[in-house]
Symmetry: C3
Subunit: 382 residues, 3 copies
């Protein structure tokens, strides 16, 4: 898709840049990429390296990649809940996430978000999610203000409202990533803030970036979203992860979903009804081996002990029931994958890790690309 442009030749011919040291080109390319991102033209470059005077030099080959839709702002002002995404938006986010994979792999030190400041406002700690967002921001050249004790910030003792806190923090930053213990907090924050808000989980409510990275991982691993067969395994009653995933999969065609879970933590009726209303085929099963042999994705989840209160016996029974081990792997198709939102205990045995179909660490990494994409889209658009 990339083609050379008149501009690049202008550059090479008129300035004789082929005699410059490689770092100079690197600098220029960074400048171009900054330029291209803020003003919607995508430029990439290729270095042809040769030796001169004992120093590695290179010529710059500038390529202009037409942007999806030049100058278009991202459709969303905030990322609050899975319900915001339609098929088109998902496609757009995933396209940018693919670009982010290239940036993360090839160039140390992208400067796309240079000068932007993200506030990580966490009312409860979630180190994994926080590090993922902060890495995303820094991989794009942005900076971070961080707090994991935001409860203290708007201290219950002092009694400041969330709205007042947001009005203060928006003065210090360009985007707010918020984790909260109350459902709906992210929506209230977004309603107040004049800058974008990303929900990094609000209590029992939503965790939309997890939902996005799950769908993105399926797309990347299987190569398609229409026509896929997905097994959701484990705690389907309490996991917002699997509920959001089922919700988003309903936006694609000919999807079939299998629910495999202990009786005490079965998928609730609201999602089942929703799937049916959208024409998505689903069935419940208690035969993990049989389901695994048919599916493109086996999405395993952790049975959470805290959901069982005093009934440790029920917990122990439930957690041991559906384990993904090498036996399950053996019946799975060659190109199928095992996914898991992490952290895992023993619901996937460690010997599975070595199999290329174990996609859960790649899935975690995809969270980085999704968050890079969202930060870029919300801060500077396409």
């Amino acid at each position: 898709m990339a083609t050379s442009t008149p501009f690049s030749s202008y550059f090479l011919q008129e300035r004789s840049f082929c005699r410059e040291p490689i770092s100079y080109f690197r600098e220029l390319a960074l400048n171009f990429s900054t330029l291209s991102t803020r003003n919607p033209i995508n430029l990439s470059f290729e270095r042809r390296v040769f030796k001169r005077s004992g120093v590695r030099c290179c010529a710059l080959e500038i390529k202009k990649t037409p942007a999806i839709s030049t100058g278009k702002m991202f459709q969303l002002d905030d990322v609050i809940e899975a319900q915001q995404f339609d098929r088109e938006i998902l496609g757009n986010i995933f396209e940018v996430a693919r670009e982010m994979e290239v940036i993360e792999k090839n160039s140390h030190g992208s400067q796309i978000l240079k000068g932007y400041l993200m506030a990580t406002l966490f009312y409860e700690p979630s180190t994994r999610t926080r590090l993922s967002f902060e890495s995303a921001m820094k991989r794009l050249g942005g900076e971070v203000l961080t707090t994991e004790n935001a409860r203290e910030f708007s201290s219950a003792a002092k009694g400041e409202t969330l709205e007042d806190t947001i009005r203060t923090v928006e003065g210090y930053s360009d985007i707010i990533v918020m984790r909260h213990f109350e459902s709906g907090a992210a929506r209230r924050a977004a309603a107040t803030a004049g800058i974008p808000v990303i929900n990094a989980g609000d209590g029992p409510g939503q965790h939309p970036t997890q939902a996005l990275l799950d769908v993105y991982t399926i797309d990347r691993e299987i190569g398609k979203l229409d026509g896929i067969k997905v097994a959701l395994v484990g705690d389907l009653a309490n996991g917002r992860t699997v509920r959001s995933l089922a919700y988003l999969l309903a936006k694609y065609q000919d999807v079939k979903i299998f629910f495999v879970s202990p009786d005490v933590v079965k998928m609730k009726d609201d999602i089942k009804h929703y799937l049916t209303s959208k024409g998505v085929e689903w069935e419940e099963s208690d035969d993990l081996m049989e389901v695994a042999s048919k599916c493109d994705v086996v999405y395993q989840t952790r049975i959470q002990r805290e959901r069982f209160g005093e009934r440790i016996d029920l917990y122990e029974e439930a957690r041991g029931k559906y384990i993904v081990d090498c036996g399950v792997l053996n019946v799975m198709q060659k190109r199928a994958v095992v996914m898991h939102p992490l952290p895992r205990l023993d619901e996937i045995t460690v010997d599975v890790d070595a199999d290329h179909r174990a996609a859960y660490f790649r899935q975690a990494k995809n969270g980085l690309f999704i968050r890079m994409a969202l930060l870029k889209l919300l801060l500077i658009g396409w």
Copy 2:
């Protein structure tokens, strides 16, 4: 005030930079601004954008703004207490703060403090103050080392002295911003450190950047400091904020101060005597409406429950007595403002927020500019 200089034309003519891409100019301008700050010449630039070969290009118009006093170091080595500031220093800080407003609004990614490292050494958490300082540093291209558990650093158990801690931390950074629970700690740190120290609050002692941002806000909102009328409302006995503000206002002419507070938290005599000795007119009143109708500034503060111990009844009585609501707004002058150091509870009702005279969130934002100004002044001077 800005005028074109020979230097800029040299640049444009001899290098034909009008044919370069916009990012190149951006880069140059950043370099210039770095140059100009460290070597006291202020340069700004203007982009004249035009299309060329399908890429937005621009010409650079470099402008040289004469600095206030070329090469002069800032008068202070540290910022420890309100008593350090005279009228001239306040004026200088405010002038730089104004420049900081421009930088923060116009240019993502100022590089003025690039390569400088600030250590945020907080012996007690104060997320709001910490984020404000860290934002200030990062908005100027500087970097931050942060700790909110500095108590542990010089752990009481291990028994390291504050002086030893400072001697270690100064080896890692270029400036220390310290919050401490003991009055006088900042002064001890400054006496030890070979690098600048900013007091971000030391227990019941001082919080000089809050005092500065309050005076700056009055200057920005009202347009003057001489001849203003200010009502200090709420807890005047315990709030170091209002005490410092009264102290600093005494440096200006024809200031009149009204104290409006419940009996149990009246302004103490030391400040009253000080004001009288400086020729500042003041009076106490229990009629908020009448005072509000005459003042340029109604500075409301929170009644702090923790000051009342067991006497919740006294607290409840005190806190309900002087509320700034739309009734008060209605009698206030058109160009008067309501200020508050935040966080607020219900001593200002939320319906006041929508009125343009509600200045408290702008006031919080001014804290950013004041801190940017102090960081610049202490690290690189004018």
Copy 3:
């Protein structure tokens, strides 16, 4: 050692850069230093400043310093324990640390590690060590993801293994600096990670960067490591610091070590046997004055109360026994030094601080240079 190269002249002559503003050269020099580090050629530069058109300009004098071994990768993939270092590796690290001293002193804002991301994964807080590593990374232009509550990350409640945590974090960063409460944790992390791991202390196990900075400090202060006489004073039974130091000193020739400690915390036999097997002379003494008068280094350590449990009486007896005060200083040789890993209580009296032989704060600062060197070596090699 630095010599001008054809390349530098090419640059100066063909581009007439002597007419550019100083900032432009600064930028170029930064580019070169990036270039030279990633592609193993070391370039430095010298600015000859002159006035032109009222603006300070300069000419660039580029110097090529031959790298120790061009293009050679650092011998180590991770830094886990003192046993990894032989005399050659120590020499190499110290040589780079010396370069780091120059970088830290002369140039604000080295960009050698620009675009690299370090994850500070601390399972227990150690603010001093954390700030030192984070300062090191930022002084070289790198970025940091930080967590001091990593226990929560791989929460015991949730039960994630260290290996799974590492696999996630390595997806977000380029190097992991880990502090852990369990001996051997760093080795496990390194075995899992595809990126370098530095052990910042693992429980009662190792703290290799402390050992390195101790040896480096002796080399810097005394000017040699062969033939030195070192007194290890204080708690020799529990301090991993002194144990590692003794271990590393055995790699040098004609070293003599004196152990001066209360009976309850004497150096253990394993180290004594090791020293003997390596031909290192050692003796125990209870006469601090006599030992101090003969040694190049008096390495004092803190008697840790927590080692004595209920026996406060034994602790009080032990801690008061060997104090380094001005009396000790008076018998010490002119070029000898006092060292201490910090924090100190009263085992070195504060009046010693003013003497130039008090090396402990310089020692803490050397920790910065050693960590800068290790980060550079592990991330980009020579």
